[in-house]
Structure formats: C-alpha cells, structure tokens
Amino acid sequence: MSPVTDNLKGFSVTFRHLFRKPVTQQFPEYKRPVYPRFRGRHRLHRHENGLEKCVGCSLCAAACPADCIRVVAAENTPEERYSPGERYARIYEINMSRCIFCGYCELACPFDAITLGHDYELAEMSRDALVYTKQMLLEPGPEARRTPVAPVDPYDIPAQEDGPA
C-alpha cells in the first residue's frame, strides 16, 4: 500500500459521511426520550387519599452518600394530619447542587415515598433555588413534566420474566 492510496482511503471515509444522515439531535426543540430507569429529579409521593407517604423516618438522609437530604420530623395531631403514621416530615429538603443522582434514597425509603423521576433540566440562576423544598418535591411545577420517557416494555421489564435474555 502506498501512502497515496492509504490517504485516499481516509478521505473516502470522510467523504462517505457527507451522504449519511446526521446523528445530531437539536436538543431544546427535540428531546430524546429517556429510558424508564433514568434517574432524574426527585419526587415525593402521596397516598390516594391525599396523605403524604413520607413518615419522616430519615432513612433516606442516612443513606445519602452526598449528605444532601435534610429531614425534620414532627408529630401528626388529629387536627393536622399529613401522613398516615405517627409522624410526618415537617421539613424535607434536598440540595440538588450536591445530589449525585445515585438513587440510594429511593432504595432506602421503606415506604416508596421518594423516587427519582425522569426530569433532568435542573439548571437555575442561583444556588438557593437548587435547595428543593417538600412542596416542590410533592407538586413539581409544569417545567418538571416535560421529559419524554421511553416505554417501560421493553426497557424496564426484567429480561428473565419470560425466559433468559
């Protein structure tokens, strides 16, 4: 092989790319659906009757490797009832600027009260805005509902439920 043919081979690669479809995705206009297992912005959940699932046990805070969850629990009273248990989370804060999206809080919570959602557009103009309060986590605003998600089947159902992969 001579240097000339070798170099031409290289040029043919770049030349062929002229006729390929670009793989670029125009991000803000087009959003690639994330996979169902994707870990993004957290959500706190409610029971069907409107009570919060979180009982303020602080297990998620204990599990968090980045130490970014702060839970302050208080007693439920008959007049003011937030959760079905004895206690509820009076303060529940996640510092999103520290969070590493490991999902350990989700694994740790015994009551499925906190899960990681799919939203990833979390940029803010100030750091303070990144400390998410319980209200923001319970009722995410419209900006947190825009992320498209790929179907659960086949992207989340474990392969082995119908035989080996």
């Binding site: 081979k9 996979y35 297992r37 870990r39 599990a63 999206f101 740790a108 392969a159």
Partner: protein, 420 residues
Amino acid sequence: MSATEHASAPVVPLWQPAQVPSPTPSKIDPPEGEDLITVNFGPNHPSTHGVLRLIVTLDGEVVVGLDADIGYVHTGFEKNFEQKTYWKGIPYAPRMDYLAFFANELAYVGAVERLIEIEVPERAQWIRTLFAELNRIHSHLIFLGTSGVELGAISLFFYCLRERDRVLDLFEMVTGVRMHDRYPQFGGVAEDLPRGFYAEAKRFCHDVPLRIDEYLDLVAGNSVWRDRYRGIGTIDAATAIAMGLSGPNLRASGVPFDLRRAEPYLAYDKMDFDIVTGERGDAFDRLMCRTKEMYESVKIIDQCLEGMPSGPVMADDRKHVLPPRHELQTSMESLIHHFKLVTEGFRVKANQIYYTVESPRGEFGCFLVSDGGPKPWRIHFRAPSFVSLQSTAMMAVNRYIADLIVVVGSLDGVMGEADR
C-alpha cells in the same frame, strides 16, 4: 496468562534500575545552558487531558528538561471512603477515573466482596463482564477521538463520540444513568437487564466493528498520523516493566500481559478473546493497541450476550445485601435488616486485601484495610494513569515540543484518576 503463554513471552528482568531516571522518574533535569527557557505547559492546557502540569525546559523547540507535576484535581477520594460505610462508598468509586467508571467500581466492589466472602451469582458475573467491556470501548473511543484533536483533526473526534453515545445509551437503559452508575452492588448487580437490552446490544455489536474499520482507515494509513506517531515515545519492554506500565501501554511494547488472562476475574476465563500487542512500543503502537482492543471487547460482549446464564443477579445474603423490596411490607425481620444496613452498614472483620481489575488504562487495584468496623480503615487505589504518567519525562526529552503532546496523549492518562 496461562503457563504456556508465559513461556512464549519475552523473558525480561523485572527491574533494571539503570534505565529508570533517578531519583524521580517523572523528572529530568535540564543541562546547564545559556539559551534555555523554562515554561509551564498546563495545568490548564487543552492537550494535557485534564490538569497535568508539565514544567518544560526548551532549547529552541526541543525539550531538554521536563518535570511532570500532578495533584491539581486531588479531591481526597481515598479519605472520603473512610468516612462512609462500605455501601455508601460505591457511588464514589466511579468518579475517580471518569472514563473507566465501571472498572473503578468493579475494583472497589470486588475488594469488599472478597473481604466479606460473598458469593456472586453467575449471571451477575456475566453482566459485569459485559459492562466492563462496554466501558473499555467507551474509554478507548475517547482516547482515539482526542488523539485526533491533538493533531488538529476534528472529524475523528465526532465519529468516536457518536459511537460513545451508543455505549452510554446502553448504560442508561440498564443502570439508569449514563456514567457513574453504582450498578455493581455487593453480591451482584442492582437490577436485571431489561428485556429490550439484547436486541439493542446485538445491534451495537454489529455496527461498532464496522465503525472501527472506518477509524482504522482514517488513522492507520494516514501519513500525517504515521509521521506524528511513529517512533515517538518509544519504550522497550524491559523499561516499560521497570516503570510499572500496565494495560495497553505495556502491551504496545510487546508484553502480552493482561489481567483478564493472567488472573481471570468475573467471567473472563470463559471468554474467547485475543490479547492485542504491539511490537515497537511507540505512540503509534499504543494507539493501534487500543483501537484493535475494541474489536476484542465487542467479541466478548457478543459472547456474553449469547451465553448469558439465567438465574438471580443478586446474592441471597441477608447480612450484606438489602432485602428485596416487596419483603419490606410483609416481613418485620427484613425491615429490621434494611434499617440496619442503611443506617449502620455491615461490619467487616479485620483484614486486608488487594484486588485488581484490568481497567482500560491498565492494572487498577484497590487495597483495602478493615479494622472490624462498618467503614474502611484505609483504602488505596493503584491508579494506572498515575504510574504511566511518570514515564512522560523519559519519553519526551530530546524531542520536539509537538511530540510531547503526542507522548502525553498516547499514554492515555486521566488526571482524575492520577490525582484522586
């Protein structure tokens, strides 16, 4: 390496002090001279792959003295591990070498697993093997792409990142994040593969070798690449061993040493793959070694997909593994275990271990000392980039400054890992 392969490997003495500059291999003092200038190359220079600082003494365009200085992204990882329970350490591990995240996790998780003597199910081993190889492709693609950027060729970088994105898509589908996945957990992997994985991974295995063919068309015959890389940063096998090089840097010098063969871990003993070696040990061979290793990785991924055994992906060990989620609602005992594991962690009896994996950069080792408590007493990582970067000075001195860039790039150091 099996015994027979040992015999065919070149017989080299393990240590040849004469070939290693003393006292610090990463430093070569300049000669006395009038017209020499000393400049800082880095720490913030696009071609130093992060924040490597090279104090270069130049005679005109020729490097006559060099001091490689590191430590600019030292983040105290090893100390951080000591503050966390073993389980909480897992998400820290991948963040050291951000290109070989999965290999880092495997080293840490593997070391702890050996200390707590937990049996990892067969299927989990295979899944880990599969992802370790995907990760190798990821790391080598970035290496190949940036090696083009260093020469001013941008197309290859885009092509490589295009394929890298497909690797990351596979990671996202299975683990939930594109990098830094904490997917291997003590006793197995966090979740089983989803149903759609097989088809997508198969498609990946079909496409990527064709793409690597294209990269080789672009690189291997290209006269610019050849002129810039051939004969640069040459290191012979004996010196490479004396300098502690490992991985592709060592194999490029003709030493067929690969931990996947030498001390098979995971499911590598069941895999059929070749060890790619170079002949001359120069930058071009290192480039080729890595590029061709991707073919082998694809071969391993394909075998993993075809031969994946069925069964559980997590060990059934209530002392060290979080209980299955559905049991939390029904079993008080599971709930207590769950609370205890999350808050306090498990205790590891006093012992120490050194466990290595073949990361894309070479031998990545985790040395772990336990004092019987729920946190590591001391943890240390053997970072292949740290070791390989000390040969920079030897390789670059008495060469042009432009070759210095090629030398640093071809060693494929990741500063996050070197500094930790």
